[in-house]
Symmetry: C2
């Protein structure tokens, strides 16, 4: 099994490198899949990583490995190669991967490499013009486009000649001006009688995206219509590239990771970043926001000082009242964020969803209000006023937090901001403050 | 553009249904993609949804639409159809989708439908035997398998005859016992000279999974090796099915959603679930766990009662100290959970990652400790003891929370539990309690 081989490589290669058994290591590499080699290289020290990469002879495999490395490892390897070697490797890479690699390099290095690549560099340079995270930036300009008037047999002959076209499981049909008019899968093509013309057997008006379509939307379309590749057209409907399903999978994974980490106020970089200071720096914005919220909380609590002098036990209930509010608030926020991301919540269903979230939370808040008031009574804390205050306090805290958690992500998405950011820092901090305010006021009135 | 058509359908169909313009609606449906129809049906009322579904004449399109609906909508539609109609629709569905639909039905209904399907039902029944979330459960048993000894020309002929094989972009090569020995993409096949034998041009020892491989692992392999489909073999290495990339995308999206919602202590069901009671019921377990944690917190705070009588201001700092701990703890937990999910954290790199997480957090904790102590001094709260106590308190709370947040998911994954659960309820609750304990003790000693 290939999967087994991956783990064999991972177990043996570092050992062979330590022992300096280079001949052995090279033979092992020759039998390994580039994806597995990349995974091992990502985990080696800088010097070992370079030594192992130099063992790989084939330009094609070097290119495939390089394309699959984590960006830090790749940057380190490339920064040590002479420009001509880098250009040589990029020439072996599918153009969409090469563009991705060049985007990561400093501008002047990238320009140098492009110049060294000659004509291929010019074509690649055009890809780099598209803004990041658009279909243009992730598309591959190698695809098979054929005129509508030719027959199936000739089409198959032409496919044979395009031996380098990546992801060529579809044959696209274009008119005289290069505009996209149809598509056929390779499979549909070979099922047709040899003399039928493409225009008579193609699927017309195929699903497409434009060069400026956001990559997340591209991924959504490929996923929704179960495509293996989606054609990319320019403003004049001319076919200029394709985005293949493997790139879509990368986009989907990337976005899922980003969303998750954004909820915790950190970024993808932190998962791979090596420096402590850098790691701390990435987290600081959210922590500072939350710290400022906390300081505001101190200020608010100070205003309710009288309550604490009357009944110090009120303070014991702060953590549970704020904590339960925060929990319900994040639950609502997550459900809304994910609903917006997957498209299950849209303008037509959002009103009902908001009512549902808040209704559920009112139900839960009532339940825990009774439980907490009961518990306080049982503890003998100044019944009946304190139990009443903490019961109402947790009810108010949970319902306001739920409202904030439900509405904030929707508000963010309305103004074009990322709802995932709303549900991390903003929901917890603002529900904490609202909780202090409502609980403090209730306790102030009752005690 | 197809995408446009989707939104046209969404805007017009509900209006046509309201006006009772069925003829018009039917014509619109005939021009629409099943994925778009499914999306609109998911948003219609129960009665309208049934009426629109009945407008679709073609069994094939009915099947395609049904396969793409959300499970609730599907269950509602199917429960109203006579068994024979349901069987007829499932017959038009790819077998992996049909198996998925049957899994959602009550056992006796599913058995009825299978009996109605005759021979096809038997084959389908075998798929249902595989446990959920395994390769066996999501695989399609339709693929093209050819003997190694035949020539390329004959292979192409045979592909033409298998016109119903889903995802047939690969041709698998098997030996006399049905064991998988090689693979060729359709494209590689047509590039070969017609008289070459498959065994001389196939890729040997292809990447494969077994029927009991977890679906998440299957998705990881397809993503890692950029495959369009992965073959599934049984314990004797016999080819029994394939998992196609479109199913892998569904698995990846499902898992990302699940992870995200698990972190907030809720489930996928909540995003689509209609009932308030059901919604509340799903959330209760985590909220109860967190409530019990909160009650324990009250008990702990009660033991530090003396401190609050001495200096009631100590209470004002509880929310910020616990809140900052919770934040850092979740940041660490998210980074670890995501690292484990994407495979960037593995046994070889985990030690360094743990040190990195805790180191970063110590750095951040020192920073906020100074800031908070400074702030308390500036507020004039019983310097120097109270500022010292809150500074040390926030430091202790943040570092313990970071340790818990980093180690708990790792511990969970070691014992085979889901690390995402650890980082939701467990991290916040246990870091709250540890925060109260350390801050209370420090304040008790100093004040």
């Amino acid at each position: 099994m290939r999967e087994l081989r991956g783990s064999v490589l991972q177990a043996s290669l570092p050992r062979l490198v330590r022992r300096g058994a280079w001949g052995h290591a090279r033979r092992l590499l020759e039998k390994s899949h580039p994806a597995d080699i990349a995974q091992v290289l990502d985990r080696l020290t800088e010097a070992d990583c370079k030594a192992v990469f130099d063992l790989i002879r084939s330009g094609e495999i070097r290119a495939a490995v390089l394309a699959m490395l984590e960006s830090e490892t790749r940057a380190r390897l490339l920064s040590d190669l002479p420009t001509s070697d880098a250009a040589e490797i990029l020439r072996h890479m599918p153009q969409d991967d090469a563009a991705q690699v060049l985007r990561e390099l400093p501008d002047e290095v990238a320009d140098d490499v492009l110049t060294h690549m000659g004509e291929e560099g010019e074509e690649l340079g055009q890809l780099l013009e598209y803004p990041e995270s658009t279909a243009g930036a992730i598309m591959s300009p190698t695809y098979i486009a054929l005129p509508a008037g030719i027959g199936v047999q000739e089409a198959i002959e032409r496919v044979r000649r395009h031996s380098d076209a990546e992801g060529s499981f579809y044959v696209y049909v274009v008119d005289d001006h290069g505009a996209l008019v149809g598509v056929l899968s390779l499979r549909q093509l070979i099922l047709q009688p040899p003399d039928k013309r493409l225009q008579d057997c193609m699927v017309t008006n195929p699903i497409r995206v434009t060069t400026d379509t956001d990559q997340e939307e591209v991924a959504g379309i490929v996923a929704r219509y179960d495509l293996l590749a989606v054609p990319v057209v320019n403003a004049s409907n001319q076919l200029v590239g394709i985005v293949t399903v493997d790139d879509v999978i990368d986009v989907l994974r990337e976005e899922a990771t980003e969303d998750l980490l954004k909820l915790a106020g950190t970024t993808v970089e932190e998962v791979t970043s090596p420096g402590l200071l850098r790691g701390a720096w990435i987290r600081i914005p959210w922590l500072v926001a939350s710290f400022v919220g906390g300081l505001t909380g101190i200020f608010l609590l100070d205003r309710f000082e009288g309550v604490f002098y009357q009944a110090v036990q009120v303070a014991f209930f702060l953590p549970i009242i704020l904590g339960m509010g925060g929990n319900v608030g994040s639950q609502c926020a997550m459900v809304v964020v994910r609903g917006l991301a997957t498209g299950q919540l849209d303008p037509s269903s959002i009103g009902r969803a908001v009512l549902h979230q808040i209704g559920t939370s009112v139900l839960l808040a009532s339940l825990f209000a009774l439980a907490l008031a009961g518990w306080a009574t049982w503890l003998g804390y100044g019944a009946p006023r304190l139990p009443l205050a903490v019961g109402l306090g947790i009810f108010a805290s949970m319902t306001t937090a739920a409202t904030i958690g439900t509405l904030l992500p929707i508000l963010f998405s309305r103004v074009g901001a990322d709802p995932a950011i709303a549900s991390g820092p903003f929901v917890t901090t603002s529900s904490d403050l609202m909780g202090i305010l409502t609980f403090g006021s209730i306790a102030g009135m009752l005690i």
